[in-house]
């Protein structure tokens, strides 16, 4: 997990079938350390499956997934964050973060835990149990846990969708601050919100309904600017993305909003 400016996560020709359901179809994409790649798509388009593939939790039916030219191994250079915080309720905040650091000697582990808790501003709550924390605080613990092993890539599955609007906006800014620092990980961020995609992404990929294919792959011109909403290109870009997303949903026979013809 050494700092490496050329860390790359690559998919080529990846398809995935679960049971007899094709989930992802012929995906080819690459991202590197330092980029925030947002994956945008309608519900059930295989976004979560895409992250599982990248994390090495499932193997593709065909094609290859590679982290620095080798198949990804869970926990080695890749960390995940989920919509539900997935903290261990019987462990304190510090112990939850330490859970992601099994191989470190005790002293180093404790140092790293207080370091990342400081990073997310929760060092005062190190000895609390998750039940005593608000949703936003729990998600910051989950973020600290994900950052603790210094991953090359951070895979995030709609991590802020369960938060209220204010907490969500604060967490978005927090995330950009943390990954924008030098040596920050690459981020693959899954969302179904066009606005979240535009605020966070350096690059946005739009997936079709199941089986997911890449419809659009575009760079965000105002990435990492303060107040992206105020950028003159924001409304047009938002409209374009939203229109493509809407069309994809309306023409999908499996969607609730399908309109034949």
């Amino acid at each position: 997990m050494a700092l490496n400016a050329t860390d790359r996560l690559e998919l080529s020709g990846v398809s995935l079938t679960l049971g007899d359901q094709p989930v992802l179809q012929d995906l080819t994409l690459a991202t590197g350390r330092g980029e925030v790649l947002v994956v945008l798509g309608p519900s059930g388009c295989g976004k979560t499956s895409l992250l599982r593939l990248m994390a090495g939790l499932v193997e593709p039916g065909s094609g290859t997934v590679a982290l620095n030219d080798a198949p990804p191994v869970p926990g080695h250079g890749i960390a995940m964050m989920f919509q539900s915080y997935r903290l261990l309720p019987w462990k304190t905040v510090a112990a939850n973060v330490a859970f992601a650091l099994p191989d470190l000697p005790r002293a180093q582990r404790e140092d790293r835990v207080s370091e990342v808790l400081h990073l997310v501003g929760l060092e005062r709550f190190a000895d609390r149990y998750p039940a005593a924390l608000s949703g936003g605080m729990r998600q910051r613990v989950a973020l600290a846990r994900a950052l603790a092993p210094r991953p090359d890539f951070l895979l995030m599955d709609e991590p802020f969708a369960a938060l209220d609007a204010q907490a969500r906006e604060l967490m978005q800014a927090e995330l950009l601050r943390l990954v924008g620092a030098s040596g920050g990980p690459g981020v693959v961020f899954v969302t179904h919100s066009v606005d979240e995609a535009l605020v966070l992404g350096d690059r946005i990929i739009l997936l079709s309904p199941r089986p997911g294919r890449i419809i659009t792959d575009m760079a965000v011109p105002f990435a990492r600017r303060p107040d992206p909403h105020d950028h003159p290109d924001y409304p047009a870009l938002r409209r374009t993305l939203w229109e493509r997303l809407r069309q994809a949903v309306l023409t999908d026979p499996a969607s609730d909003f399908y309109r034949p013809g």
Partner: protein, 262 residues
């Protein structure tokens, strides 16, 4: 969970002091009903609370109670302890290896439904009438609910937490120790609670059906002589053992599940 219901009760405004007062009041009611019943029952069939208390003090001071109590506790605690260790391990193994769970599940359930008293003659033939036979009878009674609940506890592990653990690259042992077992604790405690109750019943059954000994032996002696005061004093000692065990388990589960009450 007793701890949960106590928690709920507390929220409704019944504090621990009020609960204790209500319990004492109910105890007084029982004693009153008992005294009335004893007064109207034919002599020799029942004994009043006062007579039972006197008999209990007599048993304790004459030294008859203590060796019997020690003998019964030995059978009870060894049998139940072995059941916790073996049953817990087997149930957890059945949960971790689904093939093992599917294979054994039906047999465990069949054995759990069979009255274990039916095995006593067989046990006597195999092990005789001594401590080993008694411990086995207690063990067989206590082990089944522990196996079944431990199995259920592992099966109930949260798939979201398992996926999270897998994504950190955690080993199987680490997932078992930090994710599966802590999640199974409430199930394990429930299993042990039911198992220890059956274990206490089987302690007395064992002491009556094999070599007469312990508190069960005292019951047999006083019952056959219609010494109802002494007989009921022994029954109360048994009830106290049961209460003690339940309270001990409650404290253990409170300690293990501190994280719930924050």
């Amino acid at each position: 969970m007793a701890s949960q219901s106590a928690h709920l009760a507390d929220r409704k405004g019944t504090g621990p002091v009020a609960t204790a007062a209500l319990r004492l009041g109910f105890l007084a009611l029982i004693l009153l009903a008992w005294a009335l019943a004893a007064r109207h029952a034919p002599p020799g069939l029942f004994a009043s609370p006062v007579a039972v208390a006197k008999a209990g003090i007599g048993l304790a001071s004459s030294g008859k109670l203590w060796p019997a109590l020690a003998a019964s506790l030995q059978v009870y605690l060894v049998g139940t302890g072995l059941a916790v260790m073996f049953g817990g391990a087997l149930g957890i193994a059945m949960g971790i290896w689904p093939a093992l769970g599917r294979t054994l599940d039906i047999y465990v359930n069949a054995l759990a439904a069979t009255p274990r008293v039916a095995f006593i003659p067989l046990i006597i033939v195999l092990l005789g009438l001594g401590l080993e036979a008694k411990v086995l009878i207690v063990f067989l009674g206590a082990v089944m609910p522990i196996v079944l609940n431990a199995h259920a506890g592992v099966q109930a592990a949260d798939p979201d937490l398992l996926e999270m653990a897998a994504s950190t690259g955690a080993s199987r042992g680490r997932i078992l120790w930090h994710v599966i077992l802590p999640g199974a604790v409430p199930f394990l405690i429930t299993g042990i609670r039911i198992g220890s109750t059956i274990g206490l019943i089987n302690t007395i059954v064992a002491e009556l059906y094999t070599a007469i000994s312990g508190l069960g032996g005292l019951l047999a002696v006083y019952g056959s002589r219609f010494q109802m005061a002494e007989y009921l004093a022994v029954v109360i000692v048994l009830a106290l053992i049961g209460v003690g065990m339940t309270e001990a388990l409650r404290l253990v589960s409170q300690r293990l599940m501190r994280w719930r009450d924050v």
